[in-house]
Symmetry: C2
Subunit: 212 residues, 2 copies
Amino acid sequence: MEKTIERLALYRRLLKNQSGKGNTHIFSHQLAGISGYSAAIVRRDLMNIGYYGTPRHGYEIKALIDCLNVFFNKPEVKSLILVGAGNLGRALIAYFIKDKTEYNLIAAFDSDPLKVNLKYNGCPCYSLEKIPELIAASQASVGIITVPAENAQSVADLLVENKIKGILNFAPVSLTVPESVYVENVDLALMLEKVLYFSVHHREGEKKNGMT
Amino acid sequence: MEKTIERLALYRRLLKNQSGKGNTHIFSHQLAGISGYSAAIVRRDLMNIGYYGTPRHGYEIKALIDCLNVFFNKPEVKSLILVGAGNLGRALIAYFIKDKTEYNLIAAFDSDPLKVNLKYNGCPCYSLEKIPELIAASQASVGIITVPAENAQSVADLLVENKIKGILNFAPVSLTVPESVYVENVDLALMLEKVLYFSVHHREGEKKNGMT
DNA sequence: ATTACTTTGTTAAATATATAACAATGTTTG
DNA sequence: CAAACATTGTTATATATTTAACAAAGTAAT
């Protein structure tokens, strides 16, 4: 199911693109082509969320987007915060502040007094003490952690105390959190190592970057 | 095997840490604890690379690191380049320029003339035309793509033409490359969407962030 | 209308990955 | 030196994920 969720979010973005181009219908193999997965997996994914197309016309793009929006709880725009306004943190602020339709980055936090009270791309930066107050006020449920590894666990603890339910963690440590909190780790150095490894050992006939 | 590779790279980093702390041996359940995986999986992973511990002392850290270094082709330091010196690109330059023991970020490239000939954290930035020359000179085999989505495919084509064998792609598009080239996609917006989804739908008893 | 065709939804098989179990092994203890 | 113990290496089982296959259904052509 987890992989399916990832792909569904991708499909939604791609379908919005297609809709923007004026297309009204799409076949499973077309969605497969632009997403990089196989047609079989596209059909199976859509089956999972209960959306049905028609044999000759495929899927109706607008209806499918609506269906995906429902699946992803659309009308609700979730608030999120970011902790750690270093190089990566500020880059992510710039990245996530743009698209406001699915989520709303309401604040950044940093322990450096020189950064506090500044705004990055319009996003205000506060000191860490303000976290409880701002989470409470905004009902933020997700936090992004971009602090150094040694501070990540204490920041995670702070977020969990304040009812954060999901964490996107860029610090290269394994966070310990209650089972009810979902953590997604993004370890950039490890990803690069993986590419370095497979740049040497990768052989033809792998499925990665499929395209069937 | 892919998942195993990811974990092995993580183990190596954690073991170096432990070694730095003066520890000489480690048990599978300890490595499991700090990595966030289960002891069974740690043992299975190490079995896969043919390193053997002893029942009562566990694994000898230094020897295991050596073994992992061999597995990851250690003495060889691979060169890499980055294309797209925007917010994210510059943050990644700062991130990757630090650790020079496994890889060596030799240059960044950007189409913006205002960025060309600048240095970011000591990393020189060139125009895209210089790519062939610099790849040839450095024997770089891996490229990081942090350009906007609309330019990503053409940059990927350029890298492939110049014998790049692995790509770490941050642009939110599915790249089309020859099968011999390995692509790892990092789609930050999708990762955030995934966290948003599971922050609501995550239930106890999932395996993610295991800790067994 | 009937036939041929395309694409779907769904089931079945294949592959990949993780968990659990346990005999083998070496260590320590008495 | 034998018994108890902890931890390994490995195999067997379970789960997750992908691929492949194909009947059912709708469409277009004749």
